[in-house]
Amino acid sequence: MDRKRVPGPELSVAPLVEYPVDHKRWTPYGETRHDAKRQPEDMRPIYLKTGLINQANGSAYIELEKTKLACGVYGPRPIKRTGQGFSGKGVLNCEIKFATFSCAKRRSNMRDPQEKELSLIVTQALTPAVRLELLPKSAIDVYITVLESDGWGSCLSAAITCASAALAHAGIEMLDLVAGCSASYISNVPESSSSSTSGSSSIPPQIYMDADLEEEKYEQGAIVLAYMPSLNEVTHVLQSGKAESTTISQSVEHCVEACNKIYAVMHHALLESINESKNNSL
């Protein structure tokens, strides 16, 4: 029982959804993706804007259609835990939080294991890019709030992109921007029809870039890649599900390509912030 919030009923559940008989659900076995306008290699259009949190040292907001995240960067500021002794390097600490209304099922206010893990992944993906050696005894806190999530892969990759833009906006010295990108492996052939042969493994799955939630429901596997385009380095890779190594190498290439496109968007958003601050000062 949470005593620090307005109390609600102890147990509440989402109602059971009943689909009408004639309900047509999207399947990957047809001609198109869930978003019919997109080709397999297409990402959703990205809207990225820096500087919406005026109390933060740096901030950014990213939107990939339904996926919406905000990120605020605080620091460098004094390290809170002094237990570790003198440290010649700064500490990067990322925390990702899902708003209770961000997913189909209402999320709890408590920090759950998934949020903890995603926080760690974002930290690992961004650390290679930040010049922490220039920030002794300091901490940089990156807070990410997911307002709406449409698929966890795109959500994680958007979090990385958004946080990296916010860090640059905070004026923190970085080696490079980090772009995050996701891809899903989805079989175009219904499994039941291929089960007579030796399983679906014989037909390589289609790689859908930046899959949404509806597409993720059919995925055999997915990959999230974080990449520094100028330095040509992968800062994080996370693959789940099962796939042949050829599929993976192919999707890594696709993701690297996509990250270059995302980099252009980030570049543009950050330059815009320069122009804006120039106009404001005039």
């Binding site: 005593r3 620090k4 919030r5 109390p7």
Partner: protein, 243 residues
Amino acid sequence: MARLDRTRTANQLRPFFSSQNLLNRADGSAQFDFGGSSVLCSVVGPAEVKIRDEKLDRATIEVIARPLVGLPGIKDKSRERSIRETLEPLILSGLHPRTGIQIVVQTMKDDGCILSTAFNATVLALLDAGIPLNSILGSVTCIVDEKSGEILLDPTTEELSQAKSTHVFVFDNKSSISTTGAAAMDLDSESSPILFSDSTGLYTEEEYFKCANICHKAAQTVHGFIRTAVQKKLEKEYQQTHA
């Protein structure tokens, strides 16, 4: 029209009761009752304060509100904040920099108007602890009745459940000192500065200021009562030490 308890008129308060210096281990303590509602308050301080909360130029005031039963929730948090922020300008905290004054407000019996009862108990406890104040305060609650539209002072729990709106007011005694006697009787709205107000429900502006006036008058009685209580206690102590 008779009220639910059939013994009071609309602008009559329930009988007061107070007693000070109840707790041995606190620097000051007091109990204040409005009829069936009772709040016990203890004050510890000026005492050491956590470095994190330390203020360079004044004392840190901490209020802890505890409910009648169970663990404190957000309603208690709101009450803590109301009491703390009202007392901050009242206590001459600049006299005790880098110290802490801790005030614990414990509900003992609940029959409506707990916030008002708590305010009055707190002032008595602060006086008992000898904390310097620039004025004392008195708090009164009133409601506008749903059916009759009448303003009822110091409502019970039962009356509260039939209220259209509820109003809690706190007044200090600065204004009433200057306007003692006859002047105190003719209170127009200009002469009753409000220290704290918290109103919920649905009501008009006129209703609100009418309530403010009625409560201000009633608060004078509370001020008087607090003054007498302190006076009596001091007399008693004087007799004891000089007996």
